[in-house]
């Protein structure tokens, strides 16, 4: 199919999968913030989520496909781009391109690395820091698990770093997907540029607030 091999077609697929990932991140953030309501909040939420296994798996497979496409094209497009520009200027001054836009592949891969670790940790529950157990209502005690893990300064820091990568990725990714979808014109281009940074910053701060609050001892077992 034309779209799978063409430059613009693949970009559009990246954009769509990127948007799906952003939607996931938004929902995940809302879900995660139930942690501020204590064990009853997040444990209820987690139980509720897992109540329909076929749906959970359908959703997981769908997201897996999305991120796979995103990663696969991210890597191939980046390789093509590197090949197309030998980058041999003795002096090169960029007027517009930013650190974020030039390092999408690295911030993206770091986020991917984080996700693997994160899955291993909270989904597969395979990392040493994990405490598995049930809460008083006989639900899996997600609250205890998270708070214990984030109590470890190193783990919290790793999360914060990952969120910083996510911020960089999205500060270019958000305006970029709008442009790729063509939802852009002369007036919106600068506005979306700023908007993208602001939204990614909010996302980053919101996500960071969880380990930060735990580390600061404001959210305790």
């Amino acid at each position: 199919m034309r779209i799978l091999s063409s430059s613009v077609g693949r970009k559009i697929l990246m954009s769509i999968t990127g948007q799906l990932l952003i939607i996931f991140i938004l929902i995940h953030l809302i879900g995660n913030s139930t942690i501020f309501f204590g064990p009853n909040g997040i444990n209820a939420y987690a139980e509720h989520l897992h109540s329909l296994p076929p749906l959970v798996w359908a959703f997981r497979l769908f997201m897996l496909a999305a991120i796979s496409v995103h990663i696969a094209y991210g890597v191939t497009l980046t390789l093509e781009n590197k090949a197309a520009n030998p980058g041999a200027y003795a002096v090169k001054r960029n007027l517009k391109a930013s650190f974020a836009s030039e390092n999408m592949i690295w911030t993206g891969l770091l986020v991917a690395g984080f996700i693997l670790y994160h899955l291993l940790q909270f989904t597969i529950k395979g990392t040493p820091d994990i405490v598995v157990g049930l809460d008083s209502a006989n639900r899996p005690d997600v609250f205890r698990m998270v708070v214990t893990s984030f109590g470890n300064g190193l783990i919290s820091l790793a999360y914060m770093f990952a969120m910083l990568m996510l911020f960089l990725h999205l500060s270019h990714g958000i305006p970029s997907f709008l442009q790729t979808m063509g939802w852009n014109n002369e007036k919106t281009i600068p506005a979306f540029g700023t908007g993208g940074k602001v939204i990614s910053a909010i996302l980053m701060l919101a996500y960071i607030s969880i380990p930060a609050v735990i580390l600061a001892g404001l959210l305790k077992l």
Partner: protein, 246 residues
């Protein structure tokens, strides 16, 4: 004023190249950048050395022939200015100036600052036209084009095909150039019939010619001497989606 130049010298497509240093003395601020290089060349010839080869023709910013990266920016980074229109008053006495050719996989160097831009031709050949025949077309006023559309098309049509967008793009992509032509024709009633085929064919030709993919760095617009706006890339993307739905 006196300047120190570091100029990319390369005797042929396969030969290795390197930056060489030259002094430009008694440069007048009213001189254009190319006239400054002319003078350097006159001295080189008199010394029996090979003068610096560079592309140029109209020297008034319209033919798109001149192509030099000056201090890291194609055309030197003054807004809406080609190298040939750049005047020495934008520099200061004692400045060091780096002069390099366009660099991109699709633009192999032929000599010194001269590159091969044939890839850009291939993109237009793939579909940058309306397939009208000579003669036998309707009266000019039979096709109405509202001023807004005509102006939009004209904004896009200002592209001079210089390739600075490619040289500036971290991905060596020719999206700005391609989108300008796609957007021009897509804005006009005459261009509608072939719109879908055009956008697909032109972007494919871009890829085949070895240009990279656009990842929205917007570096191209910043370097473009005609200020071609990246909104045309968004337009191309829309046209592409329309084509996919067809």
């Amino acid at each position: 004023m006196n300047l120190t130049l570091h100029v990319w010298r390369q005797s042929g497509p396969k030969a290795p190249g390197k930056l060489e240093q030259y002094e430009a003395k008694n440069v007048s601020p009213d001189q254009s950048f190319l006239e400054m290089l002319d003078e350097v060349n006159e001295h080189l010839i008199k010394e029996g050395k090979d003068p610096i080869a560079f592309d140029h023709d109209c020297r008034e910013g319209i033919c798109g022939m001149c192509s030099q990266v000056i201090n890291g920016v194609p055309h030197g980074g003054r807004e809406r200015t080609t190298v040939c229109q750049l005047h020495m008053r934008s520099f200061n006495d004692g400045d060091t100036i780096y002069i390099e050719p366009w660099r991109a996989l699709a633009f192999p160097i032929q000599k010194d600052l001269i590159v091969d831009r044939n890839g850009l031709e291939k993109i237009i050949q793939a579909g940058g036209y309306t397939s009208c025949h000579t003669g036998g077309v309707a009266d000019g006023n039979a096709i109405l084009v509202p001023k807004i559309a005509a102006d939009y098309a004209m904004d896009a049509a200002e592209c001079i095909g210089c390739g600075a967008c490619v040289a500036a793009c971290p991905n060596g992509s020719a999206m700005l150039y391609t989108s300008a032509k796609v957007a021009q024709l897509a804005a006009l009633p005459q261009g509608q019939a072939e719109a879908a085929e055009r956008v697909c064919a032109m972007t494919e030709a871009m890829q085949e010619a070895g240009f990279g993919n656009c990842s929205n760095h917007y570096e191209c617009q910043a370097a473009c001497p005609k200020g071609i706006n990246v909104k045309f890339i968004a337009k191309l993307n829309r046209e592409y989606q329309k084509a996919l739905l067809k």
